[in-house]
Symmetry: C2
Subunit: 229 residues, 2 copies
C-alpha cells in the first residue's frame, strides 16, 4: 500500500487508484485484484462520449495482466476508436448486507476492482485468443467443446483489450460497526450473506437427448479466493 506502481510490478497504485475514502478497505496487490476478477462473471465498462458517461455491463476474461472484454456491448463507443478510448472497468461481488443497530452504520460486504486504462480493439490471432479467454471465463473447458468461430463470425465480433496496470481492489467484510452508545440497543444486527449462485443447467429444448451434460458443467463452480464473511 505504500509502494509506488512504478517501482513494484505487484502494486498497481497510481494517482487515480489511490483510495481516498476508507483506505483500510483497499488493496493494490495483483493477487487480490486477480482473484476478484476471476470469480466474478461480468464487468461494468464506463466510457465517455461528448462529456456524458456510459456504463454498460458485459462479459470479460483475464489472461495474466490483460483483460479481454466482449466488445459488442460497447458498440456505441467502438464506432470511432481504433485508437483506443479511456475506460474504467469495475467488477463487483456482493457478499452481504451489513445490518447495523443504527441506520447510519448500514453497509454492504463486497469485493470490487476498478481498472483504469485505454481499451483497444484487437484483431487477428489476438482476437481469437481474447474470445477463448472470455469463453473460458464463463466455463472452463467450454472452448474445446464449442464450435470455433468462422472467419465471418470473427469479423462480426469485437474484442477489447485492457492492460491491468492501474487498478485497485476494495473489500469490506465482517460484522457491522457499532458505536459505544448503541451496544445495548435491542436491535438485531449482523450480516445477511449474498452470493451469485449457479442453478441446475437447463438444456436447450432442441438438444438431442443423446448429448449429455459435460463434466465441467456438472461440477461447475467459480474460482474462489479471498472470500471472507
Amino acid at each position: 500500500m505504500t509502494t509506488s506502481a512504478r517501482g513494484d510490478r505487484s502494486s498497481l497504485r497510481t494517482k487515480r487508484t489511490i483510495l481516498r475514502r476508507k483506505p483500510e478497505r483497499g488493496a493494490h496487490n495483483f493477487e487480490t485484484i486477480a482473484s476478484i476478477l476471476d470469480e466474478a462473471l461480468y464487468c461494468h465498462i464506463g466510457s465517455v462520449a461528448e462529456g456524458q458517461p456510459f456504463v454498460v455491463p458485459t462479459g470479460y476474461g483475464r489472461d495474466g495482466r490483460t483483460l479481454y472484454i466482449h466488445g459488442s456491448a460497447a458498440s456505441r463507443m467502438l464506432k470511432s476508436l481504433s485508437s483506443g478510448i479511456p475506460v474504467c472497468v469495475t467488477v463487483t461481488l456482493l457478499d452481504g448486507l451489513v445490518l447495523a443497530r443504527s441506520a447510519f452504520r448500514h453497509s454492504m460486504n463486497y469485493r470490487s476492482v476498478m481498472i483504469f486504462g485505454v481499451a483497444r480493439k484487437v484483431a487477428g490471432e489476438e482476437k481469437l485468443r481474447g474470445l477463448k479467454v472470455i469463453t473460458e471465463h464463463m466455463a472452463r473447458g467450454r472452448w474445446a467443446d464449442a464450435r470455433p468461430p468462422t472467419r465471418q463470425e470473427l469479423k462480426a465480433t469485437a474484442v477489447l483489450r485492457l492492460d491491468i496496470d492501474e487498478a485497485s481492489a476494495k473489500i469490506r467484510s465482517g460484522p457491522p460497526l457499532v458505536d459505544k452508545e448503541d451496544r445495548g440497543l435491542p436491535v438485531w444486527a449482523g450480516v445477511l450473506p449474498f452470493a451469485l449462485v449457479p442453478g441446475q443447467p437447463v438444456p436447450d429444448p432442441q438438444l438431442p437427448p443423446e448429448v449429455k451434460l459435460p463434466a465441467y458443467l456438472a461440477a461447475y463452480r467459480r474460482p474462489q479466493g479471498h472470500r471472507r464473511a
Copy 2:
C-alpha cells in the same frame, strides 16, 4: 417502443436511450425498469472527471420516479458538485450463462437498466427520506427497527437524487441461438442459471442472545418481477 419520451410519461425513451444494438432486447416502459431496480441490490454509478470515466458500485433505493443513491461511494466526484453532475447509473441482474453450440453464440441472460441524468445532493427532510428509501431497499422493515440518524450522522452522509426520466431496460432470456448448420453438432447447449441468493443471517458476535432475528429478515426475499428463464 415507438412512442417518444416527451409525449408519454410511461416511456423513458430519448436519443441517448434508444437501443441501437439488438433493440428487440430493449424496453422503455416504466414498469419493467422499476421491477429491475426493485429486485437488484446495488448499482454502478458512472461519472466523468477531467475526461476520465469513473464507475463505482453503491447502494440505492427507488421512490416512485426518483432514485436515491448512497453518496459516500461517490465522494471523489461529490466534492465540487452541489450543482449536480451528469451520471449514468446502471443496474444489472445476471440470470444465466447462455452456452451455445458455437463459441460465437455464447451470451448471458440478464436484465439491466441504464438511467441518464444529473445527480444532485439532497439536504434536510429529503436527505432523511432518501436514507429511509435506501435502507428499506436493503430490507423492507429495517428503517423502523434501526436507530434513526443523529444530526451529526446526517451531516456525515451524502445522498444523491436522480430522476428516472431518461432510462432503458435491456433483457435477454431463453435458450441459446443456434445456426441451422449447427443443429446436429454433438455439443451440449443450454442455460446455466445464476441468481444472487441470500444465505442464513449471521448475527453480530456482540449481539446479546435475547435479541431475536426479526420476521422481515427470517422471511427475507427480493421483490421479483419479470424474471424469465
